[in-house]
Symmetry: C2
Subunit: 99 residues, 2 copies
DNA sequence: TACTGCCATAGCATCGATGCTATGCGGTCG
DNA sequence: CGACCGCATAGCATCGATGCTATGGCAGTA
């Protein structure tokens, strides 16, 4: 677990780098999206391979994305959303710090 | 307008390529986000250079993004959102096609 | 007219995401 | 046990976004 340099390591490293609050956020968002997709996929009773085919990508790409291995791009998110019968929604919401 | 190969041309070309519905969508989202950022920026009374500095990028990058010249990545959107005092929100919403 | 600020673009280097094939590993089933 | 399925990863090629500098045009304005 410690001499291996895998996606989890990479992600953690990215999220602990100093002064990278934005990258941290993006990485966190990517991770959460990955979890959500996994959830949706399992809800459909699909395997990674099936989702991959439906989204026009390969099983490895799906696995990488679900694991939060990379910060996905909008085109990829779009394709996944379509395959999962969802709509991709990207917006700037007012920063409700007013709490 | 016709012998120049600029971002508008590129974008239009991308959006009219056959069988690229997902890329079309992503490009459209990118374009709308660009417009929204421009709107927000002007609301703050900032120039592209000022926003660029606040978001840790250059004026040219801001211009390119606002013009929809490229499909932005999540880290970039995050930084812009922060600079504009907004929260970046990415989600898969239920596709209300059920009509 | 000269100067200055703002925006649009070009051109290029670099970094990182994606696409791909090939494995490895743990179950399950025959 | 052997075949198969599902998931995780490695390694590599390629494409595309970003970062940068340098311009050019366009309004104001002195």
């Amino acid at each position: 677990m410690s001499d291996r340099l895998d996606w989890n390591d990479l992600r953690e490293r990215r999220m602990t780098e100093p002064g990278a609050a934005e990258t941290y956020e993006a990485t966190r968002i990517a991770f959460e999206l990955g979890q959500e997709v996994r959830h949706l996929r399992e809800g459909h009773g699909w395997s990674q391979s099936q989702l991959a085919r439906a989204a026009g990508m390969t099983q490895s790409a799906v696995a990488r994305f679900e694991a939060g291995g990379t910060v996905p791009t909008l085109p990829v998110l779009e394709r996944l959303a379509r395959a999962l019968d969802r709509r991709l929604d990207v917006r700037f919401t007012p920063n409700a710090d007013a709490a």
